[in-house]
Amino acid sequence: MGKVKSAVITSLIVAAVLVLTLFATISFPTSNVKRYNSFISTIVMGSELTGDSYAVLYPAGVISSSDYNVVVGDSENIEEKNEYEGKYTPCGGVYVENEKLEDKDAFKASVLKDAEIISARFADKGYSGYSVTVVDDYSIKVTVPSNMSYAALKEYDVSARSAALTEIGHAVQYLTLEGEMSLRDSETATTSMLGVNEDFSSYFRKISMYSMAGSHAVKFDLTDEGFDKLNKIVSAGSEGSNAYIFVGETTLGMQIALGTPLTEKSMFYQLDRAYAQDFSILLSSVHSGNVLENKYNDAKSSTEMKLISVTPVFGEYAAVYLGVVVLLAIIASVVASVLKYKKLGLINALTVVIYSLAMVCALNIIGIQLTLAGAFIALAGLALITFTNFYVFEAIRKETFTGRTFQASVKDGYKKTLMSVLDLHIVLVVIAAMLALIGFGELAACGLIFFIAVIASYTLYWFTRFMWFVTVSPVKDKFGFCGYTREVYGDED
């Protein structure tokens, strides 16, 4: 390859990488009201980096001390004050209706059981870290990751922040719904369309979330008996009217058209991803018999629910510090490769930068939640790519010791290491896929990150070979370019 061709290709690639690096890392205002948020600042991060959100759930008959003191402390409303003082008893930091305390142990046990069911429901959300705590025996505190990016956390991206909080709000609202499943003939109906002793959830074999090509749905698999029974109800209904699926006294907005008999034993309700996930978890839980006994955060009989955002445990700028660590790891890899392999090290440096950009873009586009463990697995990918390149460079160095020409050494070096590199990447890519598919929550995210890292590593292994060919072609001292010392034989003098 000629000097000009080599320079043009190298310049184009370096320029493309530089432009992508700028867009990936630098945020800037585009007008007085608009702002461009870099790829890196819009990566969704775990609770340790962007904080948690929590809500305290008060069962019917329990109110917070704050709500109690608002009424009791209001000296103007004596009647209500007297009512509260007679009605509630302080239990730790909450106030419980005396009626509920008649069978105190049973009430406590019901709250604990509800907390366990709620914990299991939130576990199915696949959060990187969440907690369900029974507070003072009579209330439940649910804490989940805020699922925000750095831009959302710092309110540079207000819409993303509000979307993340809305999603959490919906999750808390729906996953804490009490009561059984029922089918009703209107959205305001208070009674089931089924017989008194009929259990609507027994009509279904399984209720799950179904995803295909970016669309999401709640899938109801009917049993044979359930199919027949539901078909009778549907056929008996007048055309144009609907039946509504309820959990407790809340409609989920899912309707069954009456008048037209069912043809399939599976029913699908297409929804947004978050709604489809929340509804499928809730319905599956209720279907399995995990029904909450108490009604939570009903403004009439308990304290209204508030969603509170918590500062990240690692501090407000934890994500920045994490970025600094990753940057230092990249710099260390670049410096080590340049020191060891001179100008060839720069090709490895370019590869490492491209790998980092690929990871940032992938995390951003796929929407994988980055946690501390995720950052470590991405660094393991960085180690994989660096050590793979070093392994090949060393194999080529060995070939040069045999007295071969530079081209022959590179060719043989790559040939001899190909199967080893392939074995390494095949094992790792399959393992990463297994972790992503079988694992759950943070583990699955780590598996997915490593899957992308291994694919990037193998692709960049060939990119290194290409760039080596492009950059070394016009160079006269090819051995010096790579930091190799050529074996000099006596007869060559």
């Binding site: 609770s47 340790e48 917070s64 001390s65 704050s66 730790g92 930091g93 909450v94 366990e116 914990s119 299991a120 939130f122 576990a123 990187s128 870290g129 969440y130 907690s131 369900v132 705590t133 029974v134 507070v135 003072d136 505190k141 804490t143 509170i308 955002s309 918590v310 500062t311 445990v313 690692f314 501090g315 934890a318 510090y321 994490l322 600094v324 660590v325 946690t371 463990a373 995720g374 470590f376 697995i377 660094l379 393991a380 180690a383 074995d423 390494l424 094992v427 790792l428 393992i431 297994m434 972790l435 079988i438 694992g439 759950f440 929550g441 943070e442 583990l443 995210a445 780590c446 490593f450």
Partner: protein, 335 residues
């Protein structure tokens, strides 16, 4: 860097060291299961705690800081220290200030502080500095979640280890496949044992770090056994005894086996230092960072010292079995 360690001759030493650490870890874990409420020290998202929440509404600008000041003084007077503090809300919509304490903090001391806070706030309301505020102390018993994550992680890791064995048995040699599986299990067991011994507060993030430990082990065994496989084709190395062959391979791979986990461990230490500054509390970041550090230490020791030594033992056993199988067939030919 060239090294010349005799890994193979120290097989028994490494096995004893590993067995001891794993046994101590199991013993500590089992004892703690009965006396300290858990095999591990459950912290982070699984920790029980005590908490004081101060709710405020319509506080004038600057008064939020006054509430925080009142609270800090009250806690200091009561002799209690929180490990986490969260200030939420705005001055026009109101919000909450939350102080979290360890479970061992006495609730009476917290209630005493809460009374002091409420009295101070009452005085503030009367003189017009504050509008409305209320403090209360709570005890939180956290449900130990993670059973789904634990089950799925166990299945995932089991499948990963089986695949590691099958692939190595097909592409490398059976003895290498056995050694690779032993390496996976050993490093994972060491990870668990060290976490039990060090009593690092653990949450659900430990599942991910357990998987990272296995991934790094697989990465290092791929490099290590590839070297051994190549050495088997090298006549100059093939002439050596099994011990010398394994030692040669292990020494050639010493840097990779040490450097991969060491670089990651270095990143963990750096993260610990920087995040401690960020959070103003090393205790807050100790859980995931120590998890990572323990995993990488287990990998560095397991891949560099334990696995080559054990592989040497397996190779010797394999050779003995091959010789024993060949001997009767020679005898029968002689007859």
């Amino acid at each position: 860097m060239k090294t010349n360690f005799g890994f193979s001759s120290k097989m028994h030493l490494f096995i004893i060291v590993s067995s001891l650490v794993i046994a101590i870890g199991l013993a500590v874990g089992i004892i703690c299961q009965f006396v300290a409420g858990g095999f591990f020290n459950y912290g982070a998202d699984w920790a029980d705690y005590k908490e004081v929440t101060i709710t405020y509404e319509y506080v004038e600008y600057g008064s939020k800081d006054k509430v925080v000041e009142i609270c800090d003084e009250a806690f200091a007077a009561a002799g209690v220290k929180s490990f986490a503090k969260n200030i939420h809300g705005s001055t026009n919509t109101g919000g909450e200030i939350t102080y979290r304490f360890t479970l061992s903090t006495k609730i009476e001391e917290l209630r005493e502080a809460v009374t002091a806070i409420n009295n101070a706030i009452k005085a503030g309301i009367e003189d017009g500095t504050l509008v409305l505020s209320n403090g209360a102390a709570y005890v939180g018993n956290t449900i130990k979640g993670g059973s789904t994550a634990l089950t799925r992680m166990s299945i995932a890791l089991a499948v990963v280890i089986v695949f590691h064995f099958v692939y190595f048995a097909l592409r490398y040699k059976l003895s290498m496949a056995i050694a690779a599986v032993i390496a996976d299990v050993h490093n994972l067991a060491l990870f668990v044992a060290l976490l039990a011994i060090t009593r690092v507060p653990l949450g659900s993030t430990m599942f991910a770090f357990a998987a990272i430990t296995v991934v790094v082990t697989v990465l290092c065994t791929c490099f290590a056994f590839d070297r051994v496989r190549k050495n088997l084709k090298d006549d100059s190395i093939n002439k050596l005894s099994i011990n010398e062959q394994v030692d040669a391979g292990a020494n050639q791979n010493f840097m990779v086996n040490i450097l991969v986990p060491a670089c990651l461990a270095g990143a963990a230490v750096l993260m610990f230092a920087l995040l401690s500054i960020s959070s103003l509390s090393p205790l807050a970041v100790i859980s995931p960072v120590m998890c990572a550090l323990v995993g990488f230490v287990a990998c560095a020791y397991g891949n560099t010292f334990f696995t080559p030594a054990v592989y040497c033992g397996i190779r010797s056993l394999e050779d003995k079995m091959t010789t024993a199988q060949k001997a009767p067939s020679k005898d029968s030919q002689g007859k």
